[in-house]
Assembly symmetry: C2
Homo-oligomer: 325 residues x 2
């Protein structure tokens, strides 16, 4: 684990350094520093660095690109928080609450620009530098498509678990795929290794999101969010969809119907939902799905050259699933 931590320190320094040149106008750039200083797991830039190192032995070659990928992720947080009307993020006010929606829109926009500039600094290491931009761009487009589906699902009564998995594939997994593809391309990895890393990122992306949904219900407070926030907001998570498909007309079906009809439930009903999920084995099913995705992810790594980077990708996966800290 010591390795992953040392990469994180490099990323934090890289973020500070990258933002140090963006000072004026302060009303545009201050919110970026505020958001980045709020911390985060830095999973995406870690993936970029490790994918690059797995390919060429040198993580630092993709440091700017790693910062670019984190900036792209942070942009999605700022805009998603406006759309979801979220008040808190990492136990601090969201950008649109601390400033206002206009500032948050514009700050998010310029973060894409900053990310592109950083990407340009490292892309020349790649034999085909345009591939780096292509991977990044796919990440941007897919994450927007995923967010569109996520918003659309909120008002839709008939979302299936496949719909949900397709949505988180776009909204979460594709950005992790972009993170490794950017890093691996800068390291001039073979097509075969890039594919293996993307498959790995895809599976940890889905597992990570499902785990996040689970934690929202069972241990959300520790992340500075409201426990059961997804239920209050009416989010059609895999958990709620699977609960609906399991109870059908049986016990608890009226509670579930109410959730889908009213697009959410009052905070006071959360324990009832949690208990219903436990009775119907939904939490266990979710854990089993997360476990199988995690194993699949690890198996894709076997096609990646053995070494320090691969070892760290394995450790990162365990850390992400809350098995190691």
């Amino acid at each position: 684990m010591i390795f992953v931590e040392s990469y994180k320190a490099i990323i934090e320094e890289g973020l500070r350094e990258a933002l140090s040149t963006y000072l004026h106008p302060g009303q545009l750039y201050d919110p970026i520093r505020y958001l980045i200083e709020g911390g985060g797991k830095r999973v995406r830039p870690l993936l970029t660095l490790l994918a690059c190192e797995a390919a060429c032995g040198e993580a630092g070659r993709a440091l700017n690109a790693a910062i670019a990928v984190e900036m792209l992720h942070a942009f999605t947080l700022v805009h998603d928080d406006i759309m979801d009307n979220s008040e808190m993020r990492r136990s601090r006010l969201t950008v649109h609450k601390k400033w206002n929606a206009n500032t948050a829109i514009l700050t998010g926009d310029v973060m894409i620009g900053i990310a592109l500039r950083l990407l340009g600094k490292d892309a020349h290491h790649c034999v085909q530098p345009l591939n780096v931009f292509e991977a990044f761009t796919n990440g941007l487009i897919f994450v927007c498509e995923g967010q569109a589906l996520d918003m659309w699902h909120l008002n839709s009564p008939h979302v299936t678990s496949d719909d949900y998995l397709a949505m988180i594939d776009l909204k979460t997994a594709k950005l992790l795929e972009a993170a490794v593809e950017v890093g691996a391309s800068i390291g001039n990895a073979s097509d075969q290794h890039i594919t293996a890393l993307k498959d790995f990122a895809h599976d940890i992306g889905l597992a990570f999101q499902l785990n996040d949904d689970l934690l929202d219900l069972t241990g959300g407070e520790q992340f500075g969010k409201t426990a059961g926030g997804d239920i209050i907001q009416g989010k059609r998570t895999w958990l709620m969809i699977t609960l609906r498909d399991t109870v059908l007309d049986g016990r608890g079906s009226s509670l579930v119907s109410e959730f889908f009809k009213n697009n959410g439930l009052d905070r006071s009903r959360i324990p009832e939902v949690r208990s219903l999920m436990e009775t119907n084995g939904i939490l266990e099913k979710a854990k089993a799905l997360i476990e199988s995705l995690t194993l699949a992810a690890q198996s894709h790594l076997s096609a990646v050259p053995d070494g320090n980077a691969r070892k760290n990708l394995e450790l990162l996966t365990l850390q992400l699933m809350g098995r190691q800290h």
Copy 2:
């Protein structure tokens, strides 16, 4: 003029073609088609095509990039309309009014992605393809900085005419510079020609924005906007700033003070402001400034190879300033 019109037809077809692959999710992509179908002068893609043709004799080499530049411009319109709370654009409802703010935020975001994909299709023509992305990215960052200053000016009592010119340099001129730099780079123009084209674009950018401000006051209705809309909204245009600096404590100074104090005036006061500007020769001063910028722009073109493209850039300039249709 027939030449510029034929380029415009190619651009319209290119826009349709580019958007034809973006269908699902419809709630994300439909608003883009709606906006693009609303029309526009297509000045920026014209500049990209003509800059490329001036460099290599072939405009079509930069068609995807030209569409990318228009998409970048259209993204700024969608997000600016939310921030300005504008209801109408080109005589149709703005995206956030026809749909909602969330849709407009996300649609704008994905337009940057679509633009980047299109740019990637043409960048390989350039000996240094990363230069194409760099020029585009500068356009994106500067336009955000310009919008931030524009919003900040709205609540600031002491904006100077230099502040205003610096703001429109970022918000308008820099995107025209990006348009020609992208096109010229794809045509592998020399550094000297790129500089000449950027200087040209800078000057027509300022002239174009000042002309737009003038038309807002004197002939706005024909563009589907409200005449004097800038005055109602309290925009600190060059015209209002220069009027303030001219009347000082003299006749009309109370009207001007009211404008700056209340961040705008009622619609009924517009004729009064217009008359005050006429009396103080502000409109004439603005016209003289526009004329000198237009002449400066044309003079930069003399460093660009003579030929069809240069001739069309000259014609486009006249058309933009309303001298030819």
